[in-house]
């Protein structure tokens, strides 16, 4: 190992997770998942409903311990939530009684960061996600897109090396979603960040990711690992490129097998 290895490497080895389902029964969500995400890489997870995509994200986030196998971050076993790992949920999950700025500040408050440093960091992040004007507004006064931007800013406050995104923009309309995807790429391009994201959209997966990993229907297993040969920085126009169409075709074919 080199002295300054780039950090933020995720490795899953034979990970299996099951949940109690009624008396004596267990539901197997993931069964033998092997996956490596290299530092700075963007990987999209796609699969039919119930393929355990969100479960897999929770294992990496340290919110769920696997029944079998190991989840490693930079070679160390993940045994709980880690400040180097940031998770953006499907819903914004903002605290409704706090303003946008105060919600973004929340993680820094929990780690008892210095107050002036906190303010500066929050102001910078609000600018990054374009919410300066909404800093003093409550979540109920924000649009869906603004809420999810605030949630993204909140996750970025602790400067995570790994960003986990659980269908973060799925509740938004298509236009807002495309814009936020572009912004996400712009924001994370400046800081080397490993990204593992769950999505339902083949095009979104291809647009964002270096690799698209296809999971099978329950119990979830990796059935395909499709590289995306599309140069960065990417723009929405790239979605019309022949590579995208071909990649989408491959992913869909694997999804078809996965659902079967």
């Amino acid at each position: 190992m080199t002295a300054v290895a780039p950090s933020g490497r995720i490795e899953l080895q034979d990970v299996a997770v099951s949940f109690p389902a009624g008396r004596d029964a267990r539901l197997t969500a993931l069964d033998g998942v092997d996956l490596v995400v290299e530092p700075g890489e963007i990987v999209a997870l796609i699969g039919p409903n119930g393929s355990g995509k969100s479960t897999l994200l929770r294992v990496v986030a340290g919110l769920l311990a696997p029944d079998r196998g190991e989840a490693l971050l930079d070679g160390h076993r993940i045994d709980g939530p880690d400040p180097r790992v940031g998770l953006v949920f499907q819903e914004p999950r903002l605290l409704p009684w706090r303003t946008t700025a105060s919600n973004v500040e929340y993680p820094l408050e929990l780690v008892r960061a210095d107050r002036t440093a906190r303010r500066a960091r929050v102001a910078a992040l609000l600018e990054t996600v374009g919410l300066e004007a909404a800093a003093r507004q409550l979540p109920s006064q924000l649009s869906g897109g603004m809420r999810q931007r605030a949630a993204l800013a909140r996750t970025l406050t602790l400067e995570p090396e790994v960003l986990l995104l659980d269908e973060p923009f799925s509740a938004l309309d298509e236009l807002t979603r495309e814009r936020l995807n572009l912004e996400l790429l712009a924001i994370t391009a400046n800081v080397p960040t490993t990204i593992l994201l769950v999505t339902h959209s083949v095009h979104e997966a291809i647009f964002l990711a270096d690799r698209v990993v296809v999971l099978s229907a329950r119990p979830g297993r990796v059935v395909a690992d499709v590289p995306v040969e599309l140069a960065r920085p990417r723009s929405l126009a790239d979605l019309d490129a022949a590579v995208v169409t071909a990649t989408a075709h491959t992913v869909r074919a694997h999804l078809g097998e996965a659902a079967a």
């Binding site: 340290g62 919110l63 939530p81 949920f89 999950r93 605290l95 009684w97 929990l110 780690v111």
Partner: protein, 260 residues
Amino acid sequence: MTALSARASWSGQIPGIAAAAIALAAFVLAWKALVVVAGYPVFVLPPPELVASRFVSAWVDGTIAPHALRTLYEVALGFAIGAGLALVAGYGLARLPLAERLLSPYLVAAQATPILALAPLLALWFGPGLTAKIVICALIVFFPVAIATMVGVRAVDDRLLELARSLRATRWQVVTTLEIPAALPAIFGGLRVGVTLAVVGAIVGEWAGADRGLGLLVNLARGSLFDIPLLFATLLTIALLGIVLYAVVVFVERALVGAR
């Protein structure tokens, strides 16, 4: 403009205070009319102007003030102690299933026993002084606040709790930054009920034996003094005390809960 919207805008133009004044005037007029029409003697139902003048004179000559202060003191202290204990107990009931199973029968039994029946016993145990009244107030406040707290804490969104866990919040941070703010509206529902019950508790306690207090004054005015206008003036004082304390709770609630 339709008739319905015309009516709505008409009622919207009357300020709340004016509406309250009109309602009060109507109540006093109806009272006066009842006395005049039915011809009740003063010792059954004194007319409103007599009660009003007795109310003023009894406050000016210092007949009511020391009793009112004593009752206020009992209510404030009993409410603070009862509500404080209830917040802790309510939290325990919400988060420790065993606590709820073991304790809820006793809680309900204590609540179902009329405070009127307990008051003489408590007077016997604690004597005619302050302690018995404070205990009664605390007892009567405890149940609504504990139940409201339990319901409020249980209703905290699991997704917000998961967010806090992913941010590695400590148990205490979860309580202070998430559970209490989220449960606050429900808790204040309990406090509103509790504060009016606390007034009832103090009066009942004084009724069972006291050297001072509005409950004692009711007894004196009805008995040895046989001053029925004073009895009504005392009842008015009790009602006003309840209204003022309720308004204080609502004021604090507005300041703490605010708009969400």
